[in-house]
């Protein structure tokens, strides 16, 4: 019989090993899924994990990886603080949208002003948009004890409808033949977030993301804020005893993750997306949840997890075009990854024993 036996201290080996185990398990079961779909599993796995990095056309894909990884990492970093503290913001997608809409509207209001101040102002306003959107569930939780999971999620749908209202209304491109989309930021140099070095995919958002990884790393490992976040998540009563104000923690964690998601939205809008449309949100806010967990809520882990998930996104595009598989198959793949991660996680805090207990 198999039993779980608690470890006295969490296993450091397993903390590092479990994400790798999860990826391997996902490859195996994902492969089975492709067999089920009537495709060669080895081709599919190769296209997802290998081709984007080292395949024949990798020079093109590599840039795409950074473009997709940056928002995932930036959002996941924000979420990771809240997740550690037991504050569940799952509405990052909505904050991402609001950041893009508010920051984008700021820029569009200034169109066609030619000033270096426009883009930084848009970043600021985008972050504030996400921040405020994230503070709604925080306020409702602090003041009325409303569950932040449900509120933040509901606000995704509200934000999406707001976006639709904006691109069909006030923000619609006046020169755009009534299409439901905004002016393109590529035609607005002061507000454009261009690829800085051609072919690399690096835009301002990628650089800012790297900076935030480092700051988050310092905060979580060296600063009392990170310590309090961990404490609040592991032992809420002990955190209160230590003097951590739970309400402040809720506001900071939701506000921070909202601001980062909003900033990511703004970079995405002004760079890779180019303009506000109803198809602007592609689910980065949800995939970032997977990134956060896969990275073990640790900034460096999130960096790698974000890159990995970006690879699967690009790989997903490849299998979509080459094996004519639906786009959703990569979503299944990513969901599976989170499942397996949660499943093997048990090894960090428990040992598996087979057979009867040791007797003397």
């Amino acid at each position: 019989m198999m039993r779980l036996e608690p470890r006295t201290d969490p296993s450091n080996i397993m903390i590092g090993l479990t994400p790798i185990l999860a990826v391997l398990a996902t490859m195996i079961f994902g492969g089975l899924l492709f067999v089920f779909l009537g495709k060669n599993p080895f081709d599919a796995i190769r296209m997802i994990f290998w081709d984007p990095l080292l395949g024949e056309h990798a020079f093109y894909y590599r840039g795409q990886i950074l473009v997709k990884a940056a928002p995932l990492i930036m959002i996941a970093l924000g979420l990771s603080f809240g997740f550690r503290a037991g504050i569940w913001n799952i509405g990052a997608e909505g904050q991402f949208i609001m950041g893009a809409v508010i920051g984008g509207a700021t820029g569009l209001a200034l169109y066609p002003m030619d000033s270096f101040i426009v883009f930084p102002l848009m970043i600021l306003m985008g972050s504030i948009g996400g921040l405020l959107w994230g503070l709604i569930p925080a306020y409702l939780k602090i003041k009325f004890n409303a569950n932040e999971i449900l509120v933040s999620l509901m606000l995704v749908y509200v934000a999406f409808n707001f976006l639709v209202g904006m691109v069909t209304g006030p923000l619609r491109n006046p020169d755009g033949f009534n299409f439901p989309e905004s002016r393109s930021f590529q035609d607005f140099p002061s507000a454009h977030n261009p690829e800085l070095w051609s072919g690399t995919g690096i835009h301002w958002g990628v650089l800012v993301t790297l900076g935030i990884v480092i700051m988050a790393y310092i905060a979580i490992t060296r600063h009392i804020f990170g310590f309090n976040v961990r404490l609040a998540g592991q032992a809420p009563r002990a955190a209160k005893f230590a003097g951590v104000n739970p309400n402040k923690m809720i506001a900071i964690c939701l506000g921070l993750s909202g601001a980062l998601a909003g900033m990511a939205g703004l970079f995405e809008l002004t760079g890779p997306a180019g303009k506000l449309t109803t198809t602007f949100p592609v689910g980065y806010g949800f995939t970032a949840i997977i990134v956060a967990f896969l990275g073990r809520l640790h900034p460096i882990g999130i960096l790698f997890a974000g890159l990995l998930l970006a690879v699967t996104y690009v790989g997903g595009d490849i299998i979509q075009s080459q094996l004519s598989l639906p786009k959703a198959s990569i979503q299944v793949f990513q969901g599976m990854l989170l499942f397996f991660l949660l499943a093997v996680d048990v090894l960090v805090n428990f040992k598996i024993r087979i057979g009867k207990r040791i007797t003397k």
Partner: protein
């Protein structure tokens, strides 16, 4: 404005039924002390599996059965993760939703634009001809009555049966229940699977009756709203009906306003159900003492019998 109150009420019942089904299942899950945030994922799996089964068999009944089974199977994954592998319930529920949404989209890839076999109205021996009451109460398909019947059963189960008492005890204090010799994990796994089956039925109701066709992401947050309605109901079965019908009313009202070319743009009207859900959640949670008395005390906590 041309909005008939009678048809409005009749259609709000239809709009509320998928959520009522899913919320009833989740109520049992939460009463056992487990928070399964994967309702959305299980609903959409029920929607597509039920749809596929109904289209291929030509029978909505088969569709609903398969939907319930598929919801239960998906929930079993959650049960294994949280009950045997002691994974965090919030994260596992999210995983279930993300996975379910993806898998459903994959399965339903070639099923968009098809019409499912229609479900007949339940025959009330001519009572549907009674004015006002007839169209409101006696002119629905069987699942509408089943969903209300299910609430009744759940109420009886929780209030009057020993099994229901044990379920509540497990949700209240799993350590004490374990000390008395109850199989906490087994009871919870069963509750989770019941919740999955109900969510699957709710999803199938969307794709087979309410819409009726398959579109990707068609649940559009219905699973999350079902979770909110459980809070709204303060974990009391009868109040689920009130919550679900209130939500159904808002949905139908805003759809009617849209159809009648009301002065507010469609996109803002579409926010209404979600905003109402938030408002309702706030109102019901504001009284902390009452909220904490009604909520199962072990909700969301991990159980491991260490000795």
């Amino acid at each position: 404005m041309d909005i008939s109150v009678v048809s409005l009420i009749a259609s709000l019942i239809v709009a509320a039924t998928p959520i009522l089904l899913a919320a009833t299942g989740e109520l049992i899950v939460e009463k056992s002390g487990v928070l399964n945030l994967g309702v959305e994922g299980m609903m959409i799996m029920g929607a597509i599996c039920g749809f596929i089964a109904a289209v291929n068999s030509g029978s909505p009944f088969v569709g609903f059965c398969i939907a319930a089974i598929s919801g239960a199977i998906l929930s079993l994954l959650f049960a294994i993760l949280t009950q045997y592998l002691l994974a965090n319930q919030v994260a596992s529920g999210l995983a279930l939703t993300l996975f379910g949404l993806g898998l459903a989209a994959l399965l339903g890839h070639s099923y968009s634009g098809i019409k499912p076999p229609s479900s007949p109205k339940f025959e009330w021996f001519g009572m549907s001809d009674i004015s006002i009451i007839g169209p409101i109460i006696f002119n629905h398909d069987l699942m509408v009555y089943f969903s209300v019947f299910l609430v009744l059963i759940v109420w009886i189960f929780l209030k009057f049966t020993r099994a229901g008492l044990i379920l509540r005890a497990v949700g209240e204090n799993h350590d004490a229940a374990h000390a008395l010799g109850y199989k906490v994990i087994r009871i919870r796994v069963l509750a989770i699977m019941f919740g999955g089956a109900c969510a699957g039925l709710g999803g199938a109701y969307l794709s087979l009756i309410r819409v009726p066709q398959w579109t990707e992401g068609m649940t559009a947050g219905a699973g999350w709203i079902a979770l909110a309605i459980v809070v709204f109901a303060s974990w009391k079965p009868w109040r689920l009906i009130l919550g679900a019908y209130l939500f159904g009313g808002v949905t139908i009202l805003q759809l009617n306003l849209q159809a009648n070319g009301f002065a507010i743009p469609v996109s803002y009207l579409s926010m209404a159900p979600y905003l109402v859900t938030i408002v309702v959640l706030v109102i019901m949670s504001a009284d902390r003492t009452r909220a904490s008395v009604n909520a199962p005390a072990s909700l969301g906590k991990i159980f491991h019998a260490s000795s």
